[in-house]
């Protein structure tokens, strides 16, 4: 991933900033730039999520993609944030076997991965059990 591609998403990845439709109040994370419900009459604006939610489903990753090999085994989950949107993220700082459907989690700022030995380090959100 070239640096600009990562850099332009930094507010979203570092601070969990999504978007909210000013017309219907629906919150989106990952951000959307058109509200699928209101379409042209929708008005999307940045919206910061509080970073708390619960696990909807999870898996323990044993075979990792490039750049994630040093993190296995890691828990990957779909998390439903309290404001409604769902996202995919790792659940970290715990034995991955402790993660369950329904577990309460909150966001933490972590190193996500690195591109090769000399490539940029990517930071962003993971979640921890609360």
């Amino acid at each position: 991933m070239a640096v600009p591609r990562f850099w332009r998403e930094i507010p979203n990845r570092y601070n969990l900033i999504g978007t909210r439709c000013g017309k219907c109040n629906k919150v989106f994370f990952p951000p959307r730039y058109i509200c699928p419900r209101c379409r042209r009459i929708g008005k999307l604006e940045p919206y910061k999520l509080n970073g708390r939610g619960k696990v909807v489903s999870y898996t323990i990753t044993h075979v990792a993609p490039n750049g994630f090999e040093d993190q296995t085994p890691y828990a990957l989950a779909i998390i439903e944030l309290d404001e409604g949107p769902r996202l995919t993220a790792q659940v970290t700082d715990c034995d991955p076997n402790k993660v369950e459907i329904g577990s309460r989690v909150e966001v933490v700022f972590r190193r996500i991965g690195q591109e090769g030995e000399d490539g940029p380090i990517h930071y962003g959100y993971k979640f921890k059990l609360v």
Binding site: M1, E9, P30, V56, S57, Y58, T59, I60, T61, H62, V63, A64, P65, N66, F68, Q71, Y74, L76, A77, I78, R86, L87, T88, A89, Q90, I101, I112, G113, H122, G124, Y125, K126
Partner: protein, 387 residues
């Protein structure tokens, strides 16, 4: 709208085909289809090719030109279509629409993927590009990981077991033993699956379809012309396609694919049939959980009962609704762009009564179901034995 018939099918062997190239594979499948249809290649008016990622797998884009050129069919128009693992099904649908519209008469729908010319890690990375790169792959999600999230939730909501998932792989390997084109003509047991290496819990290595080279072609003609070429035309009576969110996390349910349900509804309606009328189906079992969800979403059983009916043998050859008689993606292999076309070829062979030891006797109506990514695209076709 004209009625559309399949007049010829052709497949390469599926597997790790180190001694043949991309261009040799597509020519071999094409030549077999032309031979099967008993037509002169010069009669072909147009071609659609399903291919997910030649750019990443063999560093070659513009494969439509390459194929028309090396098949000796210049200046026939050739078009590549892409929807990840549903590319083949989409190519078939484009070919059906083209013939039905009257724009062209004889149209080839092909699919091809050459996956073993790069190292395994690169193959996995290329496949992951069917997921959302920014918000799924970026955080460490792989394709097995995304399907594992569906499997875990299916187990949680419906009590589906790892043994039931394993039964899908065991059945499809068994079926593949009777398919000379299949990558894995070998039996496996439930224990083999359960004891295979974990990939993404609850999915293990033998829950996953393999990396495969392969190509497949079907040749279409207007139904009224089909009898000129073959005594056993097979009609394509329904075609349906639907889109869904590219990311799994954006969907309200994780235990089924809305794209499948939506595409099937359109295809069933067009064909004037329902799930009970289907004699056999080829469904997209990229992972064992995917077959269980597919048979539910296509209406072959109630939601949540896919694991149970699989365990009871209802989806085996000789069962109530045989699924993946070819061996499916799991046993036959999954050259992603070719899969949707290979599914169609299997149904055509079955409806003609030419499926050898895996033949479903008396089959009249069959269905194919091809999925792109984690369900962002689904394509369903209904086939009927011609008179």
């Amino acid at each position: 709208m004209r009625k559309v018939a399949v007049i010829g099918v052709g497949l390469t062997k599926f597997g790790e085909l180190w001694d043949v190239s991309f261009r040799q594979m597509i020519i071999e499948a094409g030549a077999r289809a032309i031979e099967d249809a008993k037509i002169d290649g010069k009669l072909i008016d147009a071609m659609y090719v399903g291919n997910m990622s030649a750019g990443q797998f063999i560093s070659q884009e513009h494969i439509a030109s390459l194929i028309a050129d090396h098949a000796g069919l210049i200046p026939m128009p050739c078009t590549r279509v892409e929807a990840a693992c549903a590319s083949g099904g989409l190519a078939l649908r484009q070919a059906v629409i083209t013939v039905a519209s009257g724009i062209h008469d004889i149209v080839v729908a092909a699919g091809i993927e050459k996956m073993t010319d790069v190292m395994t890690e690169q193959t996995t990375e290329a496949l992951a590009t069917a997921a959302d790169q920014e918000w799924e792959a970026f955080v460490g999600a792989t394709f097995p990981g995304i399907y594992a999230l569906m499997a875990r939730r299916h187990m949680y909501e419906f009590g589906t077991t790892e043994e039931q998932l394993a039964k899908v792989a065991v059945k499809n390997h068994h079926n593949a033993c009777f398919n000379p084109c299949a990558q894995y003509q070998m039996e496996i047991t439930v224990e083999d699956v359960l004891n295979s290496a974990p990939v993404n819990t609850p999915l293990k290595l033998l829950d996953c379809s393999p990396i495969t080279d392969g190509a497949a072609c079907v040749i279409l003609a207007p139904a009224e012309m089909a009898k000129k070429f073959t005594d056993t035309p097979v009609l394509i009576t329904g075609t349906g396609q639907a889109s869904d969110t590219i990311s799994l996390h954006d969907r309200p349910t994780l235990t089924g694919l809305a794209a499948t349900t939506n595409a099937a509804e359109i295809a069933y309606k067009m064909a004037g049939v329902g799930p009970r009328d289907i004699d056999l189906a080829e469904v997209h079992d990229c992972f064992t959980i995917a077959e269980i969800m597919a048979i539910e979403d296509l209406g072959f059983c109630k939601k949540g009962e896919g694991g149970k009916v699989t365990e009871q043998g209802e989806t085996a050859i000789g069962g109530r609704i045989p699924i993946n008689t070819s061996g499916g993606l799991k046993g036959k292999g999954h050259p992603v762009g070719a899969t949707g076309i290979a599914q169609a070829a299997e149904i055509v062979l079955q409806l003609r009564g030419e499926a050898g030891k895996r033949q479903i006797y008396g089959a009249e109506i069959g269905l194919t179901h091809n999925v792109g990514g984690s369900g962002g695209t689904a394509v369903v076709h209904v086939f009927k034995r011609g008179d």
